[in-house]
């Protein structure tokens, strides 16, 4: 999977035609063979753009940044990125007519060690669902697979799970990188921050991490697209996907196979209801 040349050509063409003001893509980090996001405003710089299986980040996160606001933006999206873009469009965070979207038929991205990422192995929408131009061969939809870690956790006992998650929450340093790297966390003022000064005295404890991560994942439930920007950004390498995948599984199994952002106009599972939703857990 190498679309570097096509993306360079398209970006140069878009700048020449005056269709975009900025282009969001990937470039080599300069230190190793990993890639970092880059925001290009100068047409001469399009030669730095690359796209290979190392292009791991979700670029829709940069649509909420200052350097793309109220500008015409060109950007590259993979399957998962396009789903978060779909949600941002329905939530009126970006305007479709200001975007030029290059969709990619993604064959899966790799982590630092060169192994295919877990979410790519379980990916059910590899192709971009919203795009102006498509690169690569379409692969079509696949079946939804329940995350292997969630299936394994479900077999463990209550105390075992409690110990496992206590360690996760203890290792969190409350840097909020997960929140800042999430394309769907765009609130100007976050409810987690309202509590920080008075409740926690600025300390990071497992109590404050529990509060922050659980609230964060429940506010993303039914919207998370499993792009794993949060995990890539986490300096403590916490398995944050566990919280999201658990919510995704419960939502998929109980609410008419809902998967966030797959269809155009989807607003997430909690913005609609069905009379047939499960009721047996309520007295």
């Amino acid at each position: 999977m190498d679309y570097s040349n096509q993306i360079r050509d398209i970006a140069a063409k878009l700048f020449a035609e005056g269709k975009i003001d900025v282009f969001v893509g990937y470039r080599m980090s300069g230190f190793d063979d990993n890639q970092v996001p880059v925001v290009i405003t100068d047409p001469k710089e399009t030669s730095v753009l690359v796209f290979t299986e190392k292009s791991v980040f979700n670029l829709t996160n940069y649509l909420k940044a200052d350097h793309t606001r109220n500008k015409r933006v060109g950007l590259v999206v993979k399957g998962c990125d396009s789903r978060s873009l779909n949600l941002l469009l329905t939530e009126s965070q970006v305007k479709r007519d200001k975007l030029y979207i290059i969709g990619v038929a993604c064959e899966g991205v790799v982590d630092d060690k060169g192994n295919k990422m877990q979410n790519c192995m379980e990916c059910f929408i590899p192709d971009a669902v919203v795009y102006d131009e498509m690169l690569g061969k379409l692969q079509g939809k696949k079946d939804y697979i329940v995350n292997a870690d969630i299936t394994e956790l479900a077999t463990k006992g209550l105390v075992e799970r409690r110990e496992y998650f206590e360690e996760i929450f203890e290792n969190c340093i409350r840097c909020n990188a997960c929140r800042h790297s999430c394309p769907l966390c765009y609130c100007a003022k976050c409810c987690i921050d309202q509590e920080t000064s008075t409740l926690y005295n600025g300390t990071n404890t497992s109590s404050s991490a529990f509060h922050a991560l659980m609230t964060w994942s429940l506010h993303l439930a039914g919207r998370c697209v499993d792009c794993r920007n949060c995990e890539k950004a986490c300096p403590s390498h916490l398995p944050l996907h566990l919280l999201h995948k658990q919510n995704e599984k419960v939502i998929y199994e109980n609410f008419q196979n809902h998967l966030a952002g797959v269809e155009e106009g989807d607003r997430g599972a909690f913005y609609k209801y069905s009379l047939k939703d499960p009721d047996d857990f309520i007295m």
């Binding site: 509060h211 609230t215 429940l218 419960v250 909690f270």
Partner: protein, 161 residues
């Protein structure tokens, strides 16, 4: 609420933790204004006895309950949370409890996964005419939480300086 048995009460999530003999559970009740709060009012005016461990908070609708409220209650003082609203179809705001129902299921399942017992967070539909049912619900939740023992997970007072 008197403890049901004279045996030691052990926290189910932390078996090494034994409750002090005078331990009484604290249950946070979040009740919808139009049905459950009126129902709890009826329980009081009809002089029905129910455990005093519940601390009631009134909200306009059960869909006002953000999962955040449940997380914060468990993290501060509560050993259990009871959320109660109108029966499906009876919502004062037409469909609020249908939206709430979805959120409750996901919240409960996530809390169960991270190591909370399922009975820590309970939900009920109580209408304004069901004063007796409200007393039963509170009794059941209190009994359940007494069996589970004190909740000492991620409590913020454990970290106070």
């Amino acid at each position: 609420m008197e403890a049901e048995s004279k045996d030691k009460i052990v926290s189910i999530e932390k078996p090494e933790l034994i409750a002090p003999p005078d331990w009484k559970p604290v249950i946070m009740g979040i009740l919808c204004n139009w049905c459950s709060y009126a129902g709890s009012d009826l329980t009081g005016t009809s002089r029905t006895q129910y455990p005093p461990n519940i601390r009631i908070i009134r909200v306009p609708c059960s869909s006002r309950v953000d999962p955040w409220f449940i997380i914060k209650a468990l993290q501060t003082t509560a050993d259990g949370v009871l959320i109660s609203g109108c029966h499906p179809g009876d919502c004062h705001y037409i469909s609020g409890n249908y939206y709430a129902r979805r959120r409750f299921l996901v919240t409960k399942e996530l809390l169960k996964m991270v190591g909370f017992h399922g009975h820590r967070v309970q939900f009920s539909w109580v209408s304004a005419a069901e004063g007796a049912k409200f007393a039963q619900v509170v009794k059941k939740v209190t009994d359940d939480v007494v069996k589970l023992g004190p909740l000492h997970l991620y409590k913020k007072e454990n970290f106070n300086r």
